[in-house]
Symmetry: C2
Subunit: 384 residues, 2 copies
């Protein structure tokens, strides 16, 4: 059969799943181990009790004749309005779409473009973009980054660029100046920017949304999610903005596409997402975000103190750390696992240029983070 010949050939030995399998094997081989994960981006805090209460009410409604079935292809109207009112005041509700996750969205958005569109993907970034292009049979090329992990404006034409800011894995939030250059490039080259902004709630003082920059509405689609700040990693709800200014028919197109391709995010998840805009929940979220940020700050200080070179961690829950002693990133991860029983994410997962780095996450429990640091410290002092 005409199955893809090279499906994931390139990445089958180097991805999150593979990395997590290595950890599982270690645990199996060492049943008395006490592994601490500074690895994948799952969150520590569970969902808010108020959000849960509203979801329970939504379920109750689904047991009555007034239950909600098909029809909310673009999201329930109240949720789209709440997103607009809280985060996108300059936009119409009709420019905002609710979906089931940014991982799906970053591939789905490509359905706006012709199949031979050339997509640019920064050299160190969330690996899903590249693998999504593989899976969809899309043409893509890697864009080099500078020494600060900022993707360099290409000298050639791209039809689409996928930017992630605050960046996964580097934890760096792109500045106004950087984004202005990208928007200028996009305008000049008639290039669509897909702006993955899922870590927006961790940003301190920098650019919170690409639409803060002049001209962005004419070139950019911004993606956000409820996964991190509302703890919806298992509940699944995301959203994105397609500005009318991109093209006169763009939202007519997208509505038609969506009606034909997607029956909407789960109604229960959407009601929960809506509840996250309640004032009391917003305060809880702020508290949780502060906790994660304090984690990041502790991790940053400690790893610097341990002699590591550390990037990010100010505007994102991720820190990007340079490997020591000439280790490559997979060997470094094995070293952390075997020596400290600590899980880190090898940088090579995020691109070849990430092979001298590893990612650690601040989304975990404080006690675990402190314990992890203590383990490394103890071992290092013994070694010296």
């Amino acid at each position: 059969m005409k199955f893809k010949k090279d499906l994931y050939k390139l990445d089958s030995d180097n991805n999150f799943y593979k990395a997590s399998e290595i950890v599982n094997e270690y645990k199996k081989a060492n049943p008395n181990s006490n592994v601490i994960s500074l690895g994948i981006g799952d969150v520590y805090f569970p969902i808010s009790k108020y959000v849960a209460k509203e979801m329970n009410a939504a379920i109750k409604k689904q047991t009555t004749p007034d239950f909600i079935g098909y029809g909310n292809y673009f999201g329930i109207q109240e949720l789209r309005k709440a997103i607009r009112d809280n985060e996108y005041k300059d936009f119409d509700i009709e420019e905002i779409y609710v979906s089931d996750g940014t991982k799906s969205d970053c591939g789905n958005i490509l359905e706006l473009l012709e199949n031979d569109a050339l997509i640019g993907i920064p050299s160190i970034t969330y690996p899903i973009y590249k693998n999504t292009c593989f899976s969809l049979g899309r043409k893509f090329e890697i864009i080099k980054s500078d020494d600060n992990f900022i993707p360099l404006i290409p000298k050639k034409h791209f039809d689409c660029i996928i930017l992630c800011s605050p960046n996964n894995p580097t934890g760096i939030n792109y500045s106004k100046e950087v984004l202005k250059k990208w928007i200028d490039y996009a305008k000049k080259e008639d290039c669509l920017i897909i702006y993955d902004n899922v870590y927006f709630s961790f940003i301190n003082d920098g650019v919170k949304s690409i639409y803060e920059i002049d001209g962005a509405k004419e070139v950019a689609i911004e993606l956000r999610s409820f996964s991190k700040h509302v703890s919806f990693t298992g509940i699944r709800c995301s959203y994105f903005v397609i500005p009318n200014q991109l093209h006169k028919d763009i939202n007519i197109y997208w509505r038609l596409r969506t009606v034909n391709r997607f029956n909407g995010a789960s109604y229960i998840a959407q009601v929960g997402a809506l509840a996250s805009f309640n004032d009391k929940v917003k305060k809880e979220i702020d508290k949780n975000i502060k906790y994660y940020k304090d984690n990041a700050s502790i991790l940053k200080t400690s790893f610097i103190d341990l002699g590591y070179e550390v990037f990010g961690g100010n505007d994102a829950p991720y820190l990007w750390v340079k490997c020591k002693d000439g280790y490559n990133s997979f060997d470094m991860a094995m070293y952390f696992l075997n020596t400290y029983e600590i899980v880190i994410v090898p940088g090579s997962i995020f691109g070849k240029d990430g092979d001298n780095y590893f990612r650690i996450s601040a989304l975990g429990r404080r006690e675990d983070i402190l314990k992890a640091i203590e383990r490394i410290r103890k071992h290092e002092s013994k070694a010296n």
Copy 2:
């Protein structure tokens, strides 16, 4: 920008959404109207109280430190096992995937195939297949059907065929003989069959799953959903089977693909789906299905009685009715709306060859169906 030039050009004036807009316009123009829908496939019965209870418990769990986050890319293991044990005893759990809806699945599955794979779509079928191919830039051709709306085995090569049985819109369940011919064709041509089997719970005595036919495991992927029988149209949960026999690496491929493209169906929805396999719930479901089937039987008898030629309705919740007096299907739908205030679905939505037919659904409330029939009867007797 390199936006698709022809996105939905062909179908922008002829789809479910457009049809529902016409109805909404009518209601607006006639605020005192009392429109009865025999239209889209939303279900009458709400979700089971037991399913709701289990979903509430799942939400409670999400408020605790033991909450479920990322990781169930292929579905929670208990649910995959329940599906296997109840419906796919001949398969491994690892051949079963849980997802968020068959509408998404029928497009996603195409990611197994090379981009230039030629896809065959029957001339009268669920329009989503065609529009999905459009949206994904996939090559497809229409396959003619015989006088009984059974797609004819093509004389040329296809890489993939999408079959829907029990069929939407015709309500016909393909026989063993028909399916055997398709499986033989698929084997001879090295062609993948995507078998949309979402109405399986409505089948009386015929083939319930394509895997009942010898050789099907070597050529077919079967799609099912919790939408209709568990009333999950708004809650979103579906599943499908990728047999190991299709290709030695097929499930390795698909796991890699899925980890990179999808973070799983909502955990809450999955717990609800799992609860639907409880014995008490199964009995409730049987009762609901019987109700819908009785609806179908009443509709069939009544429309025949009213002089219509009627197909389907035995193994599916849909009836496929020939338009009267040379009406085309959109005009017939307008006639039903303006004369009886009844919504039907014009057959042209399901393909050009459907233009002399319309679809009616048996998934609604008994009282509405009886009232609808009464309205037509009264008007016809007045007219005569």
